[in-house]
Subunit: 253 residues, 2 copies
C-alpha cells in the first residue's frame, strides 16, 4: 500500500467538473440513496455505517444534511461523538461507540467517531504512542467484527480541507449571525495543532484495514457530490431486496 | 501450550482436602474479597470481570452467592446472558456483551457470556466453523481491549462437572420442591449434546489468549473454595489502594 501523505493531496475540486451540474446530480443521487435506504430497511439483512472525520469546519453536518436528504429518519440515525461523559470514561474507548453501531436494516452516520481516540487524544498527548498502536489494532478488529458478524458495510470519509479554507469558514461563523451558533473559541485554539493533527490522521489513514475515502472538501458542492457517489455505489453493491411474499406465505394473514 | 482435554481432567475434589476446613476457609476468603472490593471501589482505577461458564447445573448461581457473599452490591454487578432479544440479534454478537463490561472501580460477574456464541451456537450448527474461528479471534481482541484500555482484569472459569453429576442435580430440581423453580425441560434435551459441548468448550479453552481456570465442580464446597482462592489472589495482585487525602488537599473542603 502506498503511504498516504495528506500534503500531497488536493483539498480543492477537480477543475473539469461543473458546480451546477454536480449539484443537480447530487440531488438526484440523494433520491436514489433514499430509495435504496428504504429497501435496506425493508430487507433487514445488512446495515451501513458511515464514518465522517475531518478538522473543525470541514463540513460534517452539511454533508449529512445533503447526502441523506431523502432518507426516512426511521431507518437512519446519526450520532455525534462529543467529550466523553464520566460513565464513558470509566470504560474502554470503544464502549460508547459499540453501543451506537447500526442494527440490521439501518444506516448509522457517525459525526466524529472512535478515531478521535487516536486523533485528539494523541495530539494533546493524553495517551502515548504505544496506546495509539494498541487502539489502532483494536479499531481494526472492531470494524472487522461489525462486517463479518453483522453484515455491516463500513464507509469512512476523511474530509480534507486546507488550513486557509478552515480559517475562512471559522471566520464566517463569527461574521454571519445565522452561523454564530456554531462558533466555538476552542476551534481557533485547536487550529494551532494543525500539523500534529495531519500526522495523526495520516497514521490512521495508513493503518486502517478498511480503507478511507479522502474527500477534497474545500468546496461544499464537490464534497457532497464526491461522498454521495460513494454512498450510492456502496448501497447499490449491497443489493438490498424487498422481501416479497410467496403466494402460500400470505395464507396465514 | 499443552492442549486441554476435558476428559482427562477430574471433575471431583482432590482427595487430600477436608470439606469442613475448606468451607470455613471459603467464608474467610469471602470476607477478604469483600474488603478488597471496597478498596477497588474507592480507588476507581481498575475493574474485575469474572466470566462463569459451564454446563447446566454446574453451579454458576451458587458460586456467585458464595464467593461474593460479602461484597457491597453497589460495587458489584452480575449479568446473566439469556436468549438474545430481537434488538440484540440485529447486532454483532459482542454488542450486548460490551455494554455490560465493568466500569473502573467495579466487579462484574458474567453468568454465561460471549462464549455462548461459540458454544451453543456451534453445537446446534447455527453458525459454521469459519464463523467460530472469526468469533474466537474477535473475542481475543475484545478481551485484550478491556485489559489494555480500561485496566480490567479478566478471570474466566470453566466449571467442570461430569455427566452423571449433572443428571443428579437436574433430578434434584424435579424432586425437591424448593428447587422446582430451576427445572427446565430443555436442560434435559441439551444434555444429549454433551460430547459436542465438550468439543466446543475444548476449542474455546485452547484458543483463548487469556487462559481459563478449569474448576472441578462436582463438589460444591470444592468448586467455591477453588474459585474463591483465585478471585482473592487476583484482587490481591491488583493492589487496590484507598485514596488518602494529603493535608493540603483537604483545605478546599
Amino acid at each position: 500500500m502506498a503511504k498516504i501523505k495528506l500534503s500531497e493531496i488536493s483539498t480543492n475540486a477537480p477543475k473539469h467538473l461543473n458546480k451546477n451540474q454536480c449539484e443537480l446530480e447530487t440531488i438526484d443521487m440523494a433520491i436514489q440513496i433514499g430509495q435504496l435506504q428504504h429497501k435496506l430497511y425493508a430487507e433487514r439483512k445488512q446495515s451501513l455505517l458511515v464514518v465522517l472525520q475531518g478538522m473543525d469546519a470541514s463540513g460534517k453536518d452539511g454533508t449529512i444534511k445533503t447526502v441523506f436528504a431523502d432518507c426516512n429518519p426511521t431507518g437512519i440515525d446519526t450520532y455525534g461523538f462529543k467529550k466523553p461523559t464520566s460513565e464513558e470514561i470509566a470504560h474502554d474507548f470503544l464502549w460508547r461507540v459499540h453501543k451506537r453501531t447500526p442494527e440490521t436494516g439501518n444506516i448509522m452516520v457517525f459525526n466524529r467517531s472512535h478515531y478521535e481516540d487516536i486523533l485528539i487524544q494523541r495530539v494533546h498527548q493524553w495517551i502515548d504512542f504505544d496506546k495509539v498502536e494498541k487502539r489502532m489494532k483494536a479499531i481494526n478488529a472492531f470494524e472487522e467484527l461489525l462486517e463479518f458478524d453483522n453484515n455491516t458495510k463500513i464507509l469512512k470519509f476523511y474530509m480534507h480541507i486546507s488550513l486557509d479554507r478552515q480559517e475562512q469558514k471559522l471566520q464566517e461563523r463569527i461574521d454571519d449571525p445565522l452561523k454564530n451558533w456554531k462558533h466555538k473559541a476552542e476551534d481557533w485554539e485547536e487550529r494551532k495543532y494543525w500539523n500534529q493533527y495531519m500526522e495523526a490522521y495520516e497514521y490512521a489513514l495508513n493503518h486502517s484495514e478498511i480503507p478511507w475515502h479522502i474527500v477534497p472538501s474545500d468546496k461544499r458542492w464537490y464534497r457532497n457530490y464526491h461522498i454521495s457517489k460513494i454512498v450510492l455505489k456502496a448501497l447499490e453493491d449491497m443489493h438490498p431486496e424487498m422481501p416479497i411474499l410467496k403466494h402460500d406465505e400470505s395464507q396465514s394473514v
